[in-house]
Symmetry: T
């Protein structure tokens, strides 16, 4: 792990089911386009309400991934 | 959504089951007395411990609702 | 509850399953060595990612317990 | 001003025009139902984007008003 | 305490005497109109100065109270 | 809006005219290269001073946009 | 810009007109007595309300200026 | 109060007696050299311990005063 | 004081009397089991309310003490 | 510098040597793929420990760069 | 790393030489009495001044270590 | 140290060499005009980048000094 450089981006996942699922959805989606994702940090947890019920959970994540040296 | 005014109040939901359930309980209870609830933001997540186990999850939420113009 | 003194320590629980489970694991482990645990406060929620999926949820907690007067 | 008690509530004003206008709108609307409003504090400034342009400015305010002694 | 819902409001107490007194004044005044007040949290401590002396202490509190189920 | 994933990036807009204009400039410029921008959040407001006058307002924004599923 | 030392002070500008104007007023006033003002950072935006309308915008700024080496 | 400019400085008062007294001491001392002090805001409360007892309370204050127009 | 190492722990003191007393109680209690306590920092001030009156003040402190080199 | 737009990204540099070196490494690596980097802001400083010694310093930076108008 | 529990404590290291050295000193000292230290996070950097020069750098760290299951 | 009053000002030191050096430069420069400087606290660490390299480290400090009683 010596002298690696990482990048941290913010993504927002949502789910009608649970906070955990919103995180899993966001990580899975993010990993489709970014390689080497290593960790996440929850920044905010929020959601929408419709008809007096929770309609979606939304979780804002910082996601960290290793930048491969460009040679 | 032009020029609406919203209000944001703080409520605390609790649940013996899960964080998600504490949020759902709080939103459902809040919606009994407040109309037009549109979103929530988690402020704090905490809980009580009894006999070395989690007894309750408690979640502090900001809840936003639209104020209807009083004509 | 008059004039008690409490202590608050930070522990980090992890779980491959859910945030709730990471909290329960941490509290149960903490209670093995500390008596009179009364409450917890979530400080940070984060996790590790492996192969594009959430591998562990990690939750940093402040845990409060009553200090028994040393006589 | 001796020994008065004040209350502070959170409202969100929006405007298609400007941040200042979102604040003025919120204060004017709030004053329709609350007496003795004395000050405000901006908590967050945000907005919606449509078609690549700012559609609304939204300003979250804490609004302080004096509670009249109930006799 | 199972599955109760609480509300948290912000009030500002002032006193010419002391910080403690500003808190007591605010809690006593708040309890005149709100039932089931259970706890407070100090958010800010400030004050006014006149003639080079502290004229008032002002304490901003979050005050939590239990919402009674509306049947 | 079910189960969408969003990304949030930070941009800094500047304007010699006003805070509102710095925000509009940043959003318009950002929308040239990013599709589906939906909201912004002001993080910091600052500026440069020259000859004892405000020369530029600078506003740091978080800008949120929807990530289109890559099929 | 090598090895300069700067100082940062807090000033509060007010305006009956707008947030931008409160900033400009504060910077202009500050520059009357301080040389080499180079930047500002908005700390808080607040205001007074009279008769249900915004009476003054108040902006708390950190203002940075270069200290001239005293020889 | 139209269009005044204020300055805010940080001072630290200490007292062997109480938090309130540390604030009063700081304000009284500050007012010896600064005119037009109007308000204070507590930033931090801390203290020194000697022989297992509180030796001093220390309170960090922001103190605001009106700048008189220099004509 | 050269190259000492300190530790900082969190304790919560309570008092039916005053904030100052809650601090003094916590420090005195902490000093019974920890040597070389040198300073404290107030983190949170809160309390319980019973019958519409302040029943306890609770103060969360960080307490710093010097670690004696283990030879 | 009139009306430029900047972007701010988060990177994490690491170094076995020093905090300064972790920053320099991150900036140099970032500049390989991003043009017009103008400033950085340290967000977090942390590190790994192995065998009771600091193994790596890790520094989380916000890095700002000017976006060239796309014609 | 599955389902481990960690603890996080706060220590303050000091050094007459550099910030890096204050961190190394604190980690080395902490590792004398705590096993399995894995990471640190800088919380505050401060220092004492004597005769117009930096006399000591002081760094407040959170230090994380793995708790071994007590069987 | 009984009942002293201190003042805390913000200065920004810069250095092409290191963070430590930026702090030392700022403290030395500050001590030329202010007597009785006793401590500093790092508020922000940032810097400028030129040609893809760190050109300056900039450190924002709060600097505390004892105010001598004016007789």
């Amino acid at each position: 792990m010596s002298d690696h450089v990482y990048k941290r981006v913010e993504i927002v996942g949502s789910s009608t089911t649970s906070i955990d699922d919103a995180i899993r959805t966001a990580i899975a989606q993010c990993s489709k386009t970014v390689k080497n994702v290593e960790w996440f940090e929850v920044q905010e947890t929020r959601g929408h309400v419709e008809n007096g019920q929770v309609a979606h959970f939304q979780v804002v994540l910082k996601v960290g991934f290793r930048i491969e040296p460009s040679a």
